[in-house]
């Protein structure tokens, strides 16, 4: 590898030897093409005409009145596919194409990354396989169907806890046997180097645009930027636009599940201990001996026991703050936001909204918060209905 993929002591590439050449190949291609004029031009065009970039920054007037300060919403939910995931799958998909790869594999939790990969598989005419835990195929069956309609094969993973971590295990095993012609399109800013760096790069337009839009619409950067954190890609994407604005608070919201005190959550940064998993050193939810725990969240997209190494570094260096939102507060936030704005947020994104609601009445009313609405909530309507039947 050219680079050691470290963020402080976090990150790295802790993988079996057989995967090293494949990671090296991706790293080499990434450094070669990311600034290549032809690559950049093609990606820009895809972002604009296929995905729908730039996304608006929208002032949520009624929600702002509800919480008592100003809330601007970065509308990643409006992207094609319904989430920020397409930024990354277009980027890595195009990279795969430039590398001459013809097959894609990916893991998925909520199905959003799987769908975004399946879309790009169709777009580029690449054979696509999506690995998905059986718990997730059940709770996100609509996305499974959409992936199949795009022509992808969805491979249900029953092993382990049947969630995202097991889907990654199985995708890694499959890749091990098929490294020569297959590109593993990883979904978040975790896993082995170079993925945390590659995925961040392709999610950075969120932050670049958001900062520019703040200056245009408000005349200054916001006071805080809030995003949910699963693996951490939508959060890194928007945070990265404000790293240099030292006064801007960066707040990541993890899934508190049934409450951190119950042990049923995925508050990795807040409750985890440092370890090595899925190729990276990061905070992890694990036993004293290092066995990886099952995680819990009402949102499938946050159900992961590790977290991106750069978030670990941002936490330890105190550049970003991390908090949790519990399932019940998230469901409240989903309802409140939908009623006040007519926008259904993804349950993942509703974690960030729940944090804002928790600040109701606690912040000066001229406070400006930007929240990354990472995805739309159509996929979650069934789950919300289960928990909160509409009268």
């Amino acid at each position: 590898m050219e680079n050691n993929g470290r963020f402080g002591d976090f990150g790295g590439f802790y993988v079996p030897e057989v995967l090293i050449p494949a990671l090296e190949e991706i790293e080499r291609a990434f450094y070669r093409f990311k600034g290549d004029p032809k690559f950049v031009a093609q990606l820009d065009e895809l972002y604009t005409r296929y995905a729908g970039r730039p996304t608006p920054l929208y002032f949520a007037k009624r929600f702002s009145e509800y919480v008592g300060f100003k809330v601007y919403v970065k509308r990643e939910d409006l992207l094609h596919g319904g989430a920020h995931k397409v930024n990354n799958t277009l980027g890595q998909g195009l990279l795969a194409k430039f590398m001459g790869k013809t097959k894609l594999i990916a893991e998925t939790g909520a199905g959003q990354h799987g769908l975004a990969t399946a879309m790009i598989g169709a777009l580029f005419g690449m054979q696509t396989k999506i690995f998905m835990g059986t718990v997730d195929t059940r709770r996100q069956s609509v996305n499974v169907h959409k992936m199949k309609l795009c022509g992808a094969e969805v491979i249900p993973v029953a092993g382990g806890t049947g969630t995202l971590k097991d889907a990654i295990n199985e995708a890694l095993r499959y890749w091990t046997a098929n490294v020569i012609d297959t590109f593993y399109l990883f979904g978040s800013v975790c896993g082995p180097h170079p993925y945390p760096t590659v995925v961040k790069h392709f999610q950075m337009p969120i932050g670049t645009e958001a900062r520019k839009q703040c200056i245009e619409q408000i005349g200054k950067p916001p006071d805080m930027v809030v995003a949910c954190v699963g693996g951490g890609s939508n959060a890194i994407g928007i945070f990265s636009g404000f790293f240099d604005d030292k006064k801007v608070r960066l707040i990541g919201v993890e899934a508190g599940g049934e409450g951190v005190q119950t042990g049923k959550h995925c508050a990795t940064l807040l409750e985890g201990k440092i370890g090595v998993f899925h190729g990276s050193r990061s905070y992890l939810l694990q036993s004293d001996e290092g066995q990886i725990y099952e995680t819990h969240s009402v949102s499938a997209g946050l159900d992961y026991p590790a977290v991106g190494p750069e978030h670990c570094f941002l936490k330890d260096t105190q550049r970003a703050e991390y908090v949790t939102a519990d399932d019940e507060d998230v469901l409240d936030a989903f309802e409140i936001f939908t009623k006040s704005e007519g926008i259904l947020p993804a349950l993942e994104s509703a974690h960030a909204l729940a944090f804002l609601i928790s600040q109701k009445g606690k912040l000066p009313k001229d406070t400006v918060a930007v929240i990354n609405l990472s995805g739309r909530g159509d996929k979650d309507v069934g789950i919300v209905e289960e928990h909160r039947p509409v009268q």
């Binding site: 030897e17 050449p21 382990g160 295990n169 091990t176 046997a177 370890g275 090595v276 694990q286």
Partner: protein, 263 residues
């Protein structure tokens, strides 16, 4: 302690190295199975500590890990298990472990305790030579040998660097893929072993997918110093969970058969 080099040197034939998941299906049964494998002629043992997320392993060993964990296996008990094995017979034991287990225990302490239990070498499945400093120094300190993997996609230049870091033996992965039984032996074995033999004089063992006495014979004929058989044997545990007698005898018979083709 005898080094691998001495062990392999003395044999004048390929060593037979069965692999077991420690504590599969439970501590006592696992111990009796391992003892009978020794009695049947194992030259070296490769033992794995069960992990919740074994990404380098196929379904057979994944299931073994789950059986062992469900039966209460822990890292501390695994070290105790190794001690019980080496008390029974002084035999070289190579450990296969996922890094997080070592890391949480404390790398230095883990390696010292493993050595004290009678262990010979350590192979961390998800640690390549690029980060080998995290393990190589402490292993040497503890008096343990290091084992690293070489695969069909490893370049010659990298294979040389891996060989330099390896003091125990090179674990040659004979195919692209995870552990698991295979009907036929990979055709990459012969060229890989031949190449490695010209690159280094560290012993070269071959594993992954080795499923029959014929496979073992072909690997020995290719010039390997050892044959590692995992999933095929672990499957015999899985298939006989209700009859421990039969489990033990099937494994003993199989090991005897493989041994006889190597001799």
């Amino acid at each position: 302690m005898t080094t691998y080099k001495e062990t392999f040197g003395k044999l004048n034939r390929a060593a037979l190295i069965p692999f077991f998941v420690i504590g599969d299906p439970d501590f006592e049964t696992s111990l009796s199975v391992v003892k009978s494998a020794i009695d049947a002629g194992a030259d070296v043992l490769e033992l794995g500590i069960p992990f919740s997320d074994p990404i380098a392993d196929g379904p057979t060993i994944q299931k073994a890990d789950i059986r062992a964990l469900n039966a209460g296996m822990t890292v501390r008990k695994a070290l105790d298990f190794i001690k019980r094995v080496t008390d029974y017979k002084s035999i070289p034991i190579g450990l296969l472990v996922y890094y997080n287990l070592v890391y949480q225990y404390g790398t230095e302490k883990f390696l010292k305790d493993f050595k004290a239990a009678g262990g010979s070498s350590v192979l961390v499945a998800d640690l390549s030579i690029d980060d080998s400093d995290e393990i190589a120094g402490p292993a040497k300190e503890a008096g343990l040998e290091t084992v690293f993997m070489i695969t069909p996609v490893t370049t010659d230049e990298r294979a040389e660097r891996i060989a330099e870091k390896t003091t125990g033996f090179i674990y040659t992965v004979s195919l692209l893929g995870v552990t698991g039984e295979r009907a036929s032996l990979s055709n990459m074995v012969k060229p890989l072993v031949t190449k490695l033999k010209t690159l280094t004089d560290v012993p070269v063992c071959v594993g992954f997918g080795v499923s029959s006495p014929q496979h073992a014979k072909a690997i020995a004929a290719a010039g390997a110093d050892g044959v590692i058989i995992g999933s095929r044997i672990v499957k015999m545990i899985e298939d006989n969970l209700n009859d421990k007698q039969k489990m033990q005898s099937e494994i003993s018979v199989f090991i005897t058969q493989v041994k006889s083709v190597l001799e």
